[in-house]
Amino acid sequence: MKKIINDPNEFVDEMLEGILLAHSHDLKIAGNDKRALVIKDAPIKEKVAIATGGGSGHLPVFLGYIGKGMIDGCAVGNVFASPSANTMFNVTKAIDGGEGVLYIYGNYGGDVMNFNMAAEMSEFEDIKVETVIVADDVASAPKGSEDKRRGVAGLFYAYKIAGAAAYEGKSLEEVKEIVERALQGTRTMGMALSPCIIPSVGKPTFTIGEDEMEIGMGIHGEPGIKREKLKSADEITEELMDRILTDLPYVEGDEVSILINGLGSTPKEELYIVYRKVHSILKEKGIKVYRPYIGEYATSMEMGGMSITLMKLDDQIKSLLDKSADTPFFQQV
């Protein structure tokens, strides 16, 4: 296990210490729950608060998007493991500014159960909570079973849109409605080249041949659609785009934002080679591209591979996407 770490069991806590030291002007913990990270000036009054949470190992997902224009707090779990309902509840209490809290998180069993428990605890304390579950991974369940899909890089768009709407002063119901609409038009397909290692486990999450790739693999190594010989960037991109475009479907005249996301060890150079092909496919189909994001937005530590996300735009979503943001891991001027 080639990692720059100390005791594997301290991995998450030491990482959080580092993050809090580096971004002490922007972040703090809620009460004395070290796993409950919130924006420094929480609770922000007269604004819907956005909470998220999930396992560690996906930086900037989840906590990296706490900041102006994005989200207010995050419950931090162990690597690839849900945080506790209690921590989620601590986050909720710390960020609620009186306008209610919107939970936005990825569709994973443990997270769903715990966030549901936290929502119950919060309602018990008269904090209004609504939930939006992100389930953008086309590969993880067929059309018709969209609610079974995993949440992956689409989380970024959900935070961006929700955050911008909340900072515009929209109500909890309105923010929820807008994010849900944005997510209805959001689809992701990914592929993996190499695994990552959970520090406390010490072994790769999966094994894969030196010349193989897996289409549709999940960000924790969940099985994908097929495993095959590594193809060219253009062929891979065509395959992913084909599955994305036909799923919604995205059609001529649509306008979309694009996120080309590196899973961890895939160089930015390669992401741009992929973007080049994405751009040409969309151009050919008469789909307009707006504001592409290219880089590491949702990772799996040192996993190799990438994902492509499309989000369909309307005027409101577009203007929310344009709003500035300033978080420790993401800035938009």
Binding site: A81, N86, G110, M113, N114, M117, K203, G218, G221, P223
Partner: protein, 212 residues
């Protein structure tokens, strides 16, 4: 038949914790086949936390005690299985609230309510290839022996055997929940790690009484 006191409950937790430690790698490998491989870690951490904290609670009420240990489990092991077990302990514990000694029928009552709690939160049914498929036969078996004149050791030996058989049976089932569900038909032939952990819980209870 004998009563079960709070010291027995603590002894049981200790035994389960030992067994989870022993089976850590085994559970990791089972969960690794179709899940994220953390189940061995979360079980050993979850029950470990309970053992570590249980003496801090000066509690006579067994129901309250178990419910509190459920909270401990929820904080220490908030994975799918950890959360399900935490819920089971909290709901089951509330059902036997007020008792400072338990008889076998209390244990059955605890078990049934616990299973209901897990079903409510996890939305799984018997036969969906989950922990329910070992816990349920174990509790059903206990229930059959509830009114018989049988030692507690024997009752739990049989319950454990039933749970173990249930865990083995999951090999023939198709995963419908959690990460393993992504494998669909391909999950046939593989034993469910959660169900295996369920059988180990019964094993812990049985061995505690056996060695008492």
């Amino acid at each position: 038949m004998e009563y079960i006191y709070i010291e027995d409950v603590k002894g049981i937790f200790k035994k389960i914790s030992e067994i989870m430690n022993e089976n850590k790698d085994y559970l990791i490998s089972l969960d690794g086949a179709m899940g994220d491989g953390d189940l061995g870690i979360t079980m050993s951490e979850g029950f470990g936390a309970i053992v570590e904290e249980m003496d801090n609670f000066k509690e006579e009420d067994i129901g309250n005690f178990i419910a509190k240990m459920g909270m401990t489990m929820a904080n220490a092991a908030p994975s799918t299985l950890g959360t399900l077990l935490a819920t089971a302990m909290m709901k089951g514990g509330r059902a036997i609230k007020g008792k400072s000694k338990l008889k076998l029928d209390d244990m059955v009552c605890f078990g049934e309510i616990a299973i209901d709690g897990m079903k409510a939160i996890g939305k799984a049914e018997i036969g969906d290839k989950t922990i329910l498929d070992s816990l349920w036969p174990g509790i059903e078996n206990l229930k059959e022996n509830e009114d018989k004149d049988i030692t507690i050791v024997k009752a739990y030996k049989e319950a454990y055997e039933a749970a173990e058989e249930g865990a083995l049976n999951t090999k023939h089932m198709i995963s419908k929940h959690g990460r393993a569900a992504y494998y669909g038909e391909d999950s046939i032939g593989k034993q469910d790690p959660g169900a295996t952990a369920g059988a180990l819980i019964f094993k812990g209870i049985y061995l505690y009484f056996e060695e008492r």
